[in-house]
């Protein structure tokens, strides 16, 4: 691809990324939504975060295989990470626990 085509590709990528991000805040905001829809939307954050996080923690090889063995650090380090998040409710301490935990285990194994 020549440089101009690459730029065009990137501009189109930007458009197809922006539209789904923009449409709901542009169209839905300010409207009175049915209570059922509001309830549904309240569950979206929890659901979408769980949906993005869970595969990262338990799947390996680009999501092809379930791995709960000791070699899957992402899963095992998530246990203390979850505990710290739950007990302290601190974003900072949780991130430090996760990163520090992974770094320490890698250093000593």
């Amino acid at each position: 691809m020549d440089e101009k085509m690459i730029w065009l590709t990137i501009v189109l990528m930007a458009l197809v990324t922006l539209i789904p991000r923009l449409l709901p805040v542009w169209v839905l905001a300010g409207r009175t939504l049915p209570p059922l829809v509001i309830t549904w939307l309240r569950y979206v954050p929890v659901a979408v975060l769980a949906a993005m996080l869970a595969p990262v923690l338990v799947l390996v090889e680009d999501g092809q295989r379930l791995d709960l063995s000791w070699s899957n650090l992402y899963f095992w380090i998530s246990v203390p990470t979850f505990l710290v998040a739950w007990k302290t409710r601190s974003l900072f301490l949780t991130v430090i626990t996760g990163m520090g935990g992974i770094a320490l285990v890698r250093l000593f194994l």
């Binding site: 990137i10 789904p20 949906a51």
Partner: protein, 235 residues
């Protein structure tokens, strides 16, 4: 750690927003760096590499796009893949929409342009209590994107000199942040059930090979389960 208003410290909303974005910055610098390295290997120009971080600004899809450029994929296939991978933001935008009703359209546009997974996770937590000042909201977004752009730039310049994001556990910054944000979102028992079921569903769908759609399908079903649970438990 959620710094909001912060009467005690007397911080300006801009500073509060920047501090609030720090966990995102810790994750974006190394991952942006990895994207920059990949873009360099894909023979994208420095301009194209940074342009993508500025106007597309969507982590995983940029890494995928760099790989597709490297593989010599045609334009339409790159654009379509980007669309599918980023479609999940539709749900995030819808979830935040009710809180932005008083904002003018152009500010919603600026907000939406920087609505990444991580920005959404931070905002949804806060908006639920009270929408902070616009200065703070945009400070979170701009700080996050700045770290992404700087990371991309450094990665591109460093090229293949240094590609190991695993030192210092940097690769775990974003997963750990998601753990915290997920826990902080949970307000009652039904949400725990929804989180567990949606997570399992997403794992199952990914294993079945529907990787790009797994998050969207699992989220739609998961949130619907939440509505059903609510209706049930209220009776």
């Amino acid at each position: 750690m959620m710094i909001k208003g912060n009467a005690g410290g007397g911080q300006s909303p801009i500073i509060s927003g920047m501090l609030q974005a720090m966990p995102v910055v810790m994750g974006y610098l190394p991952i942006g760096f990895a994207y920059g390295v990949l873009a360099d290997q894909a023979h994208l120009s420095l301009f194209s590499t940074v342009l993508m971080s500025l106007i597309v600004y969507a982590g995983s899809s940029q890494l995928i796009a760099a790989a597709l450029f490297a593989a010599g994929q045609p334009m339409l296939s790159i654009v379509f893949t980007t669309f599918v991978v980023n479609l999940r933001h539709l749900l995030m935008s819808a979830a935040l929409a009710p809180h932005l009703s008083r904002w003018p359209q152009w500010q919603r546009l600026l907000f939406a342009a920087e609505l990444t997974d991580e920005a959404f996770a931070l905002h949804s937590l806060q908006f639920h209590k009270e929408v902070p000042s616009k200065g703070q909201v945009f400070a979170v977004n701009i700080t996050s994107q700045l770290s992404w752009v700087v990371g991309s730039l450094l990665g591109y310049v460093a090229g293949t000199l240094f590609t190991d994001v695993e030192v210092f556990g940097l690769d775990y910054a974003l997963p750990a942040m998601f753990v915290a944000l997920l826990i902080l979102q949970i307000q009652h028992r039904n949400m725990v059930i929804v989180a567990v079921l949606t997570g399992l569903l997403s794992i199952g769908l990914t294993l079945l090979g529907v990787t790009t759609w797994a998050v969207i399908i699992a989220t739609v079903i998961g949130a619907t389960i939440g509505v059903v649970l609510d209706a049930w438990t209220k009776k």
